[in-house]
Symmetry: C2
Subunit: 418 residues, 2 copies
């Protein structure tokens, strides 16, 4: 029996989520005896709910292959969280209705923790409503906070971007510190977990003696201890690079970014942990400092993606299709580390019931006692994830990312208001 | 007659200034019958003044070759401006004294406008004092504001970084705009000239229909016209990327970054044109927005350097040595564009008397009438400068940049206080 598939991208996009899309679509095309068309939700689950589906079958094999080197969400993503089955029953019912109308037997949801939860509920509800859909979660999040899987596709590339940028920024500082800037503060993503910030620590190693201080959300920020650490580094090296999480917070839970600042008109002012920390350093230590906020540039930086991450993102997409064809339902496809040295990994799976609503933080033994650097255990974990370069093709000096046609599938149902 | 050379790096470093250093040192090594050692000033001209010279002859050929792919200033740079001959006579005299003490007959000064001026004065003074030193200026500045030369080494790479990041950030926005961020503001360098900001405009072209608004320092910022332009883009595309110069300013000359903001303690607050513009958009149009400030990351990003820029940086270094050996003095080595399509260039020279204290701004015909985008003429100028990729070698997932030994040359003179 040939049934169609629905694929949707969810939440903040990454440099490699489209590699997962390529994995799903190419695996489906290889199994055309069992999977008909792959429909993508336009703007993620919103497209699935509003029956705004994209027909990926009109895209050439070359266009789909190009997704592997194209950042961001080719079909659009969204921030739209379904609540529990009772509160969002109307939406879950509608999803099943859309699946029925388009003979969709496979649902591949590509996202982080919230979408794993949605995917889990879809798998429960479809059974209950007597319209079985195999719901498989394809992991994705730069935050690296999904449980069970060794890592989350998207993270390795942002980690590589941050590690590379921290090394490069440190070289710059080191050149100039005699008469100019002594401290560069780099603010990175990861509101709840410090994985991305920790990656900044990789810029220093046995070969590169670079002074780096990390400020993780897992460790309560202590201004005096922080300033003392920065001073210690500057006294010794004449410069220091600080990598701070956007989610860094004080012991009372308030974010560093919440500075309570007001502009000349008395309006509450935009924060940012990076500028806040830089300001502290200038005021507390008197050093000339600079700050950078990479924001979306870090998660969109496909030009410096980790080859390991790209391979894993593709693999979880393709394996999700294979799992579905093998009869699996209500699982998340995972990455299993089989060895750190040499680094080897394989594909695995986890029941969605064990994934939903669990957030993986940095283990305490990945963080030095003083809280300002990463340990050898952390290096052994992170190191392999940034290995290898996987450059996109370039044309006219710029990366040649694909823009798909994104043709709509004709609607068969009445409109649905979100 | 064999004489030594002094090479010094000046001002803000770039992704390719070390490629110029490699050009100078390798050309000198090829001419060992006429050039003895190349001494580098530690931390630029400060090292030359304080007789803190680095002996580059102890570095292996491989280490010097690695400079070609290493960002920032391998010998240290500085922000230290010599004034005119009268006000800084003590310093100029000292320079000549150091040159004499170390039998230095060639002075290669690698920097922007201020150092061109210093180099010019050294060339005048050495003649006047009867100790001839051939002073050659090796151009370098991400600001691209030196006159006569078609472009300035360092600029092409930062332009490529900004164009690539703008395209990537736009792909991210485009994926998410349905329910999340509609405007991404990217703040870039270039306090006086909009060259770097203009490069953001290259992210859109015939193939990539991406809505980009540039905010250049050359065009007085008009809040209402700006907001209307952003709204026009969002109405049409559902998103918009804004690239703003750190030096963007109002008609009265005040910088956008000067927001007059105070924190909770009443302290004057860090500005930033990027956050300021983002705030305006949120307040004036109500869009969800994000902002990024690339800061030093953009000028240190050797991992995404322009191959054209690397080649030109190396070439001006090597050619400066050839010019010196041909008897030239008091010149800046330049890049001469011989054709835009196909792009061809050659090395030239300009008298330093015509270089010092001249700043090259964006011509008005490179900017659209409304001031918010770049013209075809600008594209034809900028396009070739970002061509080609020149990736550094990687190890353990990170670029393998060289750290030199930087051994000191024994001092021969009494100490000198700056």
């Amino acid at each position: 029996m040939v049934r169609n598939a629905c694929y949707a991208q969810s939440g903040g996009v990454t440099a490699v989520i489209n590699a997962s899309a390529a994995g799903v679509i190419e695996a489906a095309r290889r199994n055309s005896d069992r999977i008909g068309k792959v429909f993508a939700g336009r703007n993620g689950i919103i497209g699935a709910l509003t029956e705004d589906l994209i027909d990926t079958s009109v895209e050439s094999d070359a266009a789909i292959a190009s997704l592997r080197h194209t950042p961001a969400g080719a079909f659009g993503s969204c921030r739209f969280k379904l609540k529990d089955l009772e509160a969002s029953k109307r939406e879950y019912d509608r999803l099943i209705e859309v699946f029925k109308a388009h003979d969709i037997g496979y649902f591949f949801y590509n996202g982080g923790g919230d979408s794993a939860d949605t995917c889990f509920k879809v798998s429960q509800l479809s059974e209950r409503l007597g319209y079985p859909v195999q719901a498989i979660h394809v992991p994705k999040t730069v935050d690296n906070d999904l449980p069970i899987t060794d890592t989350c596709p998207g993270f390795g590339s942002v980690a590589k971007y941050v590690a590379v940028s921290t090394r490069e920024g440190s070289f710059d500082l080191r050149s100039m510190s005699r008469t100019s800037t002594k401290v560069l503060v780099i603010e990175v993503m990861g509101r709840h977990a410090g994985w991305i910030t920790a990656a900044g620590g990789l810029a220093a190693d046995d070969e590169y003696d670079i002074p780096i201080v990390v400020v993780l959300p897992e460790i309560a920020f202590d201004e005096q201890r922080f300033l003392a650490k920065v001073k210690e580094k500057v006294d010794r090296y004449d410069y220091c690079t600080v990598v701070v999480s956007e989610g860094a917070r004080h012991a009372d839970g308030t974010f560093l970014a919440e500075q309570g600042t007001r502009d000349a008109f008395g309006h509450a002012q935009l924060g940012g942990a990076g500028p806040a920390v830089a300001q502290l350093i200038r005021r507390g230590l008197g050093y000339k400092m600079h700050w950078a906020v990479a924001d979306y540039l870090q998660r969109a930086a496909r030009h410096i993606a980790s080859a390991t991450d790209v391979a894993q993102a593709y693999a979880v997409g393709a394996a999700s299709v294979e799992y579905a064809l093998a009869g699996e339902n209500s699982i998340m496809t995972t990455i299993v580390r089989t060895s750190s040295k040499p680094y080897t990994w394989e594909i695995g799976k986890a029941p969605l019931s064990q994934v939903a609503n669990v957030e993986k933080h940095m283990p305490r033994d990945f963080i030095s006692d003083d809280g300002f650097s990463i340990t050898q255990a952390c290096r052994e974990y992170l190191g392999p994830l940034i290995q290898g370069e996987d450059y996109p093709p370039f044309r006219n000096g710029l990366p040649r990312y694909v823009m798909l046609k994104n043709e709509a599938v004709p609607r068969r149902l009445p409109a649905f208001t979100l």
